[in-house]
């Protein structure tokens, strides 16, 4: 897991928003899902995850609620606000533009 490449600066917010948009989820779940979906390629350090979550909450993109998990424990579940959904769309479009551009350069250079 340590070998997994570190996340590009700024993309963590996008990933978190995307994961949370799939449905209410707690912090551990987010880290787990990112790892899972990326097939272990991306690892999120707790040290970056929680600051990012709080930042997003502070900005009004996420809201949180304490709720019981399937195992019957209390956890803080995050959901995306309307503002967060708009932000997700904007960041996704931005990411696709940048990724497309990078892809283009990489292909041209071959």
């Amino acid at each position: 897991m340590q070998a997994a490449s570190s996340l590009l600066q700024g993309t963590l917010d996008l990933l978190i928003l995307k994961i949370v948009a799939l449905g209410p989820i707690h912090g551990y779940g987010i880290a787990h899902r990112i790892q899972q979906i990326s097939r272990e390629a991306l690892a999120v350090q707790q040290g970056s995850l929680y600051p990012a979550l709080y930042r997003l909450e502070e900005r009004g993109y996420l809201q949180a609620q304490w709720r019981e998990t399937e195992q019957g424990r209390m956890a803080k579940f995050y959901t995306v606000t309307k503002k967060g959904a708009r932000q997700l769309e904007a960041e996704r479009a931005q990411w696709e533009r940048v990724a497309g551009a990078i892809q283009l350069i990489l292909q041209q250079a071959e």
Partner: protein, 897 residues
């Protein structure tokens, strides 16, 4: 209010964060165990992954504090915690600031009200007051300032000057007001009908005068009350409008009350009642009429300049008209003044800014003192700021290591600045708050001390907000500057050096040097302040010791004006005679007289005279003061008879005799014995007076007065007079008996200003007293601040050199040697401060030269006294920490890291 939550519910938020992270941690362990790890392994692995719970929480917290408000609050909380750790420093810094800001706010508030503030009228900047210097043939009331004009001149300006939107005239006098059986002396202002219109003052009730109120003499028995008089005398009774009151014996209708806050066009004065100019004769029975006389100067003229015209343009325009007026008038100069024609035509009109009020009496009240006081307050603020700078710098230096560590850990230069900024701003805010409380608590007594002891009610005691903000701004600026300094400092010094060095000794040297320079500056400022206090103390002592030319002890005076209830001259004299004999019969009273002249009060006529054998240097330049006195005056007033005899009862009646003073003899008789010689043409029909005696010069206008030629004539003055009562018993004990006796005979006429002359003379010095008291107070305050500053520097040096001292002592240096180490520093600082302060102070003293009396600006006593006082106090402050250094235990110092 959701966004406020994290600010106030810190612990709840913390708990929530804990719970969330613990949940995550446990999930991680569970998942690791699910993959086959033992619990112990899982926990260890989870710890590694988590990378330190504290760090995660810190970062998370940081992210949470992204809100700007919270970041500031956090900074302040940190600052408060940090300040609380050094309560001594905090107390000194806050006190320094509070004193500096508080003193400034109070003094500037007083200054503002006394000098700077404009009249509460419409657009005060466009008001101008008329003044014309030069010769004026004929009578001149309010002569001191050359600000009086005749009624016909006023009409000329009002009707013909095109540069003005309006021109008003006023004459300030006094009178009596009888209402509900009680008579009271009142300040009366005779005003032109357009007075309130030109000023733009609105009524608070009823109506104000209109140009219709300028009419035939005595046809307009109406009065407007000032707001404060209405409140004071009538309790703000709205029913007063339309009611009749008796003013100087005449029934007059109150038609209105002027706006609140409007006291007078004269600076620092107040009027009780305003009456149309047409009613003049009621108040000036001694010189009735005069509305047609072009050479009776008695009215102050104030005009409103038209919009779009500058004061200079208005002055030029008004002078063209003034010259035409003078040309016309010069054709009909009064008899005997024809030779003044050329001088007369040279007169010019000055338009003085009058937005802040006019000053007609020649005494600019306490204005000059207030300016010096504000300079002093400024210096105290400067010292306070310098002290603060020194304190902050020392604190930063002492925390060099802490700050270096913070920077090494990545706080960044800005982080450090932010930390210091938080602390310093908090200090400034605390100091400011304390200053406001101080100013509010001391407002009233301070204003009384600063402005006038008798009329503090004229001034508001609320500190001025703008001034408060200014002082606060100055200290904030200091605080900010001092917060930024370490950021630049840090760039120069190698962080590694600081971290390596044991005590940060090498780093502090430049700062110590700078702080020493600051203390030197403070000592120099203190010299200025204490020296000023010394100069005024000497002035006061000199003024108290001045020979006034009469015996001031055992002398009581009081005033009375029988004409204000409308008595005719003969009746007025009768009342005064009765008072004279009644008071004279009181046991303990030696002699009594009355005169038109009162000690420290005007009333003297300046007369043009002729003395056979005397040729004036310039035509018309043979003026002398004339005082009407009753026969007992030389004894009662305590004049010193040098030659001839005093008046006898037989001199009353047709005035044929006069007593002259020394200056008169010197001027008109070339110092020869004048007894038996004659004076001619003494105005008011007096001629051929025989000089029967010579008295010593009397200082008429107070302790600073220069002697002036004057003569006394035996005459029972038939209007406002001052009584002189010479006692054999202590005068204080007789005041009540005299008041009762006088009031019994006065039958309803108010007896005013009853008191001992000594007290009146003392009151006359209140400005000097205030100045001395305040300069002394400021000086001590400043010296205290400087002492604190010096103490701080030396204490810091001692702390820095603890190791060195320990080594020296271990090697056998005695306590005296240790004290000497620092004594040199202390001595150099004090000597340098004095060396700068004394010569510059010598220069500064020239600014107060005008207010000094028989003291040179470089008075050795004042300078030496200030230098010694400051030297002694700062020496003690500097030696205290040095003494502490001798208590250092060498063994402990060497172990000390």
């Amino acid at each position: 209010m959701h966004w406020l939550r994290p600010l106030f519910r810190r612990s709840a938020v913390e708990r929530e964060m804990d719970a969330e992270l613990r949940f995550h941690f446990e999930q991680l362990i569970e998942s690791l165990m699910a993959q086959g790890a033992t619990r112990g392994q899982a926990i260890r692995q989870a710890r590694i992954q988590f990378g330190g719970m504290g760090q995660v929480k810190d970062d998370a917290r940081e992210a949470r504090l992204a809100g700007r408000l919270e970041r500031i609050a956090r900074g302040l909380r940190m600052a408060a915690r940090s300040l609380a750790r050094s309560p001594g420093f905090t107390a000194v810094a806050v006190t320094t600031l509070a004193l500096g800001i508080g003193a400034n706010t109070l003094i500037f508030s007083a200054l503002d009200q006394a000098i700077l503030r404009n009249l509460p009228v419409q657009d005060p900047a466009r008001l101008v007051a008329f003044r014309s210097l030069g010769t004026n043939p004929g009578m001149d009331r309010n002569s001191g300032r050359k600000m009086s004009f005749s009624y016909p001149k006023y009409l000329d300006f009002r009707e013909r000057a095109e540069v003005f939107a309006g021109v008003l005239a006023r004459y300030s006098t006094d009178g009596s007001l009888l209402y509900n059986g009680a008579t009271e002396m009142i300040d009366v202002e005779l005003v032109s009908g357009n007075y309130f219109d030109v000023l733009g003052v609105k009524p608070a009730g009823g109506r104000l005068f209109t140009p219709d109120d300028d009419g035939n003499p005595m046809d307009h028995p109406v009065a407007v009350l000032s707001y404060s008089y209405w409140q004071r005398r009538f309790g703000g009774d709205r029913g007063m409008v339309g009611r009749k009151v008796t003013i100087n014996g005449m029934a007059m209708t109150v038609i209105g009350v002027s706006a609140q806050g409007f006291q007078d066009v004269e600076r620092g004065q107040s009027e009780d009642v305003r009456v149309p100019l047409a009613m003049k004769d009621l108040f000036t029975p001694m010189w009735p009429g005069g509305f047609k006389n072009r050479f009776w100067a008695w009215l102050n003229i104030i005009a409103r300049v038209k919009p779009g015209i500058s004061r200079e343009q208005a002055e030029a325009g008004a002078n063209v008209l003034y010259h035409q007026i003078l040309e016309d008038e010069s054709k009909n100069l009064p008899k005997g003044a024809e030779n003044l024609r050329d001088e007369f035509l040279k007169r010019r009109l000055d338009l003085l800014p009058a937005g802040g009020g006019i000053s007609t009496n020649g005494q600019d009240s306490s204005a000059p003192f207030l300016i010096e006081l504000s300079a002093m307050a400024g210096i105290v603020l400067l010292i306070a700021c310098v002290n603060l700078a020194g304190l902050l710098m020392a604190r930063t230096a002492a925390r060099q290591r802490e700050l270096a560590i913070r920077m090494a850990l990545g706080a960044g230069r800005f982080g450090v600045v932010r930390l210091l900024l938080g602390e310093n701003l908090l200090l400034a805010a605390a100091g400011g708050t304390l200053a406001v409380l101080l100013a509010a608590a001391l407002g009233k007594p301070a204003m009384v001390l600063l402005l006038s002891e008798d009329a503090p009610s004229l001034y508001s005691t609320t500190p001025d907000l703008r001034i408060l903000l200014f002082a606060l701004g100055a200290t904030l600026l200091t605080a900010v500057a001092m917060s930024l300094a370490p950021a630049f400092e840090a760039r120069r010094t190698q962080l590694a050096d600081i971290l390596k060095s044991e005590t940060g000794a090498s780093v502090g040297r430049a700062q110590v040097r700078f702080r020493k320079a600051l203390v030197i500056a403070q000592v120099a400022f203190c010299v200025w302040l204490l020296m000023t206090a010394g100069l005024f103390a000497r002035t006061l002592a000199n003024l108290r010791a001045v020979d006034l030319g009469f015996e001031r002890r055992n002398l009581i005076t009081f005033g009375i004006d029988p004409t204000i209830i409308g008595l005719k001259p003969a009746d007025s004299i009768a009342v005064c005679r009765r008072i004279e004999s009644t008071v004279a019969a009181i046991p303990g009273v030696n002699s009594v007289s009355f005169s038109n002249f009162g000690v420290l009060k005007s009333g003297m006529n300046i007369q043009q005279i002729k003395v056979p054998g005397y040729v004036p240097p310039r035509p018309g330049d043979a003026m002398a003061g004339e005082l009407s006195v009753t026969p007992g005056h030389v004894r009662a007033a305590g004049l010193h008879l040098l030659a001839g005899r005093e008046f006898a009862d037989s001199d009353l009646g047709a005035i044929k005799t006069a007593i002259v003073n020394q200056s008169f003899v010197k001027r008109f008789f070339h110092g020869e014995n004048p007894v038996g010689r004659k004076m001619n043409d003494v105005g008011a029909g007096l001629d051929n007076l025989e000089v029967i005696g010579v008295v010593r010069d009397q200082k008429f206008w107070g302790q600073r007065d220069e002697a002036q030629p004057a003569f006394y004539i035996p005459n029972e003055f038939p209007a406002a007079v001052s009584f002189y009562v010479r006692t054999t018993l202590p005068p204080e004990n007789l005041l009540d008996t005299i008041r009762k006796g006088a009031e019994r005979q006065a039958a309803g006429i108010p007896v005013t200003r009853l008191g001992t002359v000594e007290k009146a003379l003392d009151l006359n010095l209140s400005a000097e007293k205030q100045m001395m008291r305040l300069a002394g107070l400021f000086g001590l305050l400043a010296t205290l601040l400087a002492a604190i500053g010096l103490y701080g520097v030396i204490a810091y040096t001692v702390a820095r050199r603890t190791r060195e001292i320990g080594i020296r002592m271990a090697l056998g240096a005695g306590r005296a040697a240790v004290v000497r180490m620092f004594l040199r520093d202390v001595a150099i600082i004090i000597a340098a401060g004095l060396a700068i302060g004394v010569p510059t102070g010598f220069g500064m003293a020239h600014f107060v030269r005008e207010q000094l009396y028989n003291v040179k600006a470089g008075d050795p006593w004042a300078l030496g006294g200030a230098a010694i006082a400051i030297g002694a106090i700062t020496l003690v402050a500097g030696l205290l920490p040095a003494r502490k250094a001798t208590k250092i235990d060498p063994a402990a110092a060497l172990r000390w890291d």
